[in-house]
Amino acid sequence: MVAQAIAEPITHPAVGAALDLAHVNHSFDIDGAELPVLDDVSLRLKAGEFVALLGPSGCGKSTLLRLVAGLDRARSGVLREDDNAIAGPHPSRVVVFQDPTLFPWRSVWDNVALGLEAQGILKGHRQRVDAALDLVGLSAFRNAYPHQLSGGMAQRVALARALVNDPKILILDEPLGKLDSLTRIAMQAEIVALWQKAGFTTLLVTHDVEEALFLANRVVVLSDRPARIKANIAVQRPHPRHRGDPYLAELRKQILGLLGLDATW
C-alpha cells in the first residue's frame, strides 16, 4: 500500500464515507461463454479521498463502478460503504455518467430535483435544488429543457443532480470524456473545487492520464481485461496543481509505461 503522506487536509470524515472492495470478481455471460472482467480486485478508499481508476479501454473500469453504485451485483467478493455491505443502489453513492442522461421531458430544475423527488423529500428541500444549480452556475437556466443546453452545461446539470443528494461517495464515470478540451479543463477545476468544498469521497474512472494526475490523491492503474490492480500511485501534490509540474510529468511517464505506451513517449 502506498504511504499517505499528503500535505493537504483532504479528509472530511463527517461527509465522505470509506469504500472497501475485497477480492471482487465479476464476469459477463456472452452467448453462454463466461467472459471474466474483474479479477480479484481489492481497493480501499478512505473517507474523503479522491481516487482515479486508469486503465485501457474496455478493461472493466465502468463495470467496477456499476458494482460500487450497486447497479449490478458482483459474482464474488465484498463491497462495503463504511461498514455496510453494498446490496443495491443508494443515493449516498451517486454516479455521474459519461453521457449526462438528463431526462429530456424535465426542465433543468426538475432534473436536478430528481433524486429528492424519488426519495420523497423534495417538499421542504426545494432550496437545496436552487443551491445545487447555483453551485454549478446554471441558475439562469432553471427553466430550460435539456435540448437547449450545450454539452458542458448538460454535464454540469448532471453534476448538480448528483450533488443535490449530498452523496457520501461520488462516482464519476468518465464524466468529461465527451467534452471539448477547453470545457474539460474548466470542469476539472470545478470538480476539484466542489470536492474540496463538500468533502465527499470520489471515485473517478478515466482514460486520461493527465486528468487523473490533475485531480486525484491516488491513481489506481488497472490491467487489460480481466482487470487486476497493476499499481497504486499516490499523487503527493496539494491542489491547485499545475499541469506543467515536473513531478506530475514524471508520474505520467511512469503510468504510461504501466499502460504499455512507454515506447511512444
Binding site: 447497479l71 451517486v94 454516479v95 431526462f103 429530456p104 424519488a118 429543457y145 435540448h147
Partner: protein
C-alpha cells in the same frame, strides 16, 4: 418560410410585414390594388359567386338561392373591407392576408359549383346538389342534424376514452412486466390486427344494447394501436434513464410513473392518433348498421330517401368534427410534449 406561397408566384407581397408596410403607404388605386391584390381578387370571386346565383334561373326548386347570393355579397364586402383596413384589424387582419388566396380559390370553386349544378346541370342533378340545397339542409333540418351530431360525439367520446385508457394501461403493463407480456402478447397478436368491424355481427347480439356494442367496438379499434405504441414506447426507454433514477434512490413505482411513462409519451400520442382514425371508421359503420342515431345513421337515412343534399351536408359536418378531434389531440400533445424538438404541426 410561409406555407402559403400562392401570392408569391403572382408577385404579391411576400410576407405579412411587407404587406402591412405597403398598405401603410399612401398609394394610388392601381398600386393599392396590386399591393393587396389577392384580397381584392378574393372579394371579386365572392361577388362572382353571388352573381352566379342571380344571373340565371334555378333548374330546380330551391328556396335559399337569393339568401345565398346576399350572403356571398356580404362576404365579398367583408373581404374587401378587411383587405383595405388590414393594418387596423390587428391580428385578424394579419391572419387574413396570407389566407386570401384560399378565399379566392373557395369563391371560384363555389361559383363553378353553382353554375355546374343549379344553373346548367352539367353534373347530373339529384346526385350533385347545388350549394343552396345544402344551406337549405342546415337551416331546415337543423334539429335532426344536431341530434345526430350529439349522438355521434357521445358514442365516439365514450368508446375512445375507454379504448385509450385500456390501451395505455395494457401497453404500460406489457412494456414493464415480462410475465404480463408473456400472456397478453399472444392475445394481442391474435386479435389486434382483426378489423374491429369484423366483430360487428357478434357484438350486436352479445351486448345488451347496440349502443354498448358500438362503444365496445370503438374502444377495440382505439385500443389496439394505443396498446402497441405505448408498449413499444415503454420498451424502448433507454436503460441509462433507469440507472440514473435508481442510483438517485428511485423505487419501481417512480421508475414506471416518472421515467417509463413520460419517456414513452411521444409514442403514446402516435398510438392515440392512429386509434382516433380507426375509431372514426368503426363509429360510422356501427351507426349505419346498428345504432339508430348519429351522423352515420343520418347518412344512411338520407340515402334511403334519396336526399343527396342531406348526405353532403352531413359529410361536411362529419369532416369538421373529425378534423376538430385531431386538432384537439394535437393541441394536447403540444402542451404535454413542449420539451420535444420539431413536432409535426397540424
Amino acid at each position: 418560410m410561409s406555407t402559403y406561397s400562392a401570392s408569391k408566384a403572382v408577385g404579391f407581397p411576400q410576407s405579412v410585414e411587407e404587406g402591412v408596410a405597403l398598405a401603410g403607404r399612401p398609394l394610388s388605386l392601381p398600386n393599392a390594388l396590386l399591393a393587396n391584390g389577392t384580397g381584392v381578387f378574393a372579394s371579386l370571386a365572392w361577388v362572382a359567386f353571388g352573381l352566379s346565383c342571380l344571373l340565371w334561373e334555378d333548374l330546380g326548386d330551391w328556396s335559399r338561392t337569393h339568401a345565398l347570393a346576399i350572403a356571398a355579397f356580404i362576404i365579398a364586402g367583408g373581404i374587401l373591407a378587411a383587405t383595405a383596413s388590414g393594418k387596423w384589424l390587428g391580428r385578424f387582419g394579419t391572419g387574413l392576408q396570407p389566407r386570401a388566396a384560399w378565399l379566392l380559390a373557395l369563391g371560384l370553386f363555389l361559383s363553378m359549383w353553382e353554375v355546374a349544378t343549379a344553373k346548367f346541370a352539367w353534373l347530373p342533378l339529384p346526385f350533385f346538389p347545388p350549394p343552396q340545397a345544402i344551406i337549405e339542409v342546415y337551416t331546415d333540418d337543423l334539429p335532426k342534424l344536431f341530434d345526430s351530431v350529439l349522438a355521434s360525439v357521445k358514442l365516439q367520446l365514450g368508446g375512445y376514452a375507454i379504448g385509450a385508457a385500456a390501451g395505455f394501461l395494457t401497453g404500460v403493463s406489457i412494456g414493464w412486466s415480462r410475465s404480463v407480456g408473456y400472456w397478453v402478447h399472444p392475445v394481442l397478436r391474435f386479435i389486434g390486427p382483426l378489423p374491429a368491424t369484423a366483430w360487428l355481427p357478434i357484438a350486436f347480439f352479445t351486448f345488451p344494447s347496440s349502443w354498448s356494442a358500438s362503444t365496445f367496438l370503438i374502444a377495440l379499434a382505439t385500443g389496439f394501436p394505443v396498446t402497441v405504441l405505448t408498449w413499444s414506447g415503454v420498451a424502448s426507454v433507454s436503460n441509462a434513464y433507469y440507472d440514473v433514477a435508481r442510483t438517485l434512490g428511485a423505487k419501481p413505482s417512480f421508475l414506471v410513473l416518472k421515467v417509463a411513462i413520460p419517456a414513452a409519451l411521444p409514442h403514446v400520442f402516435v398510438g392515440l392518433f392512429m386509434g382516433l382514425g380507426s375509431s372514426f371508421a368503426v363509429l360510422v359503420v356501427a351507426e349505419m348498421i346498428g345504432v339508430k342515431a348519429g351522423l352515420g345513421w343520418y347518412l344512411q337515412w338520407a340515402q334511403g330517401w334519396a336526399a343527396y343534399a342531406n348526405m353532403y351536408a352531413a359529410l361536411l359536418v362529419m369532416s369538421l368534427l373529425c378534423s376538430g378531434a385531431v386538432t384537439l389531440l394535437f393541441k394536447i400533445r403540444d402542451r404535454l410534449l413542449v420539451w420535444q424538438k420539431g413536432v409535426v404541426k397540424w
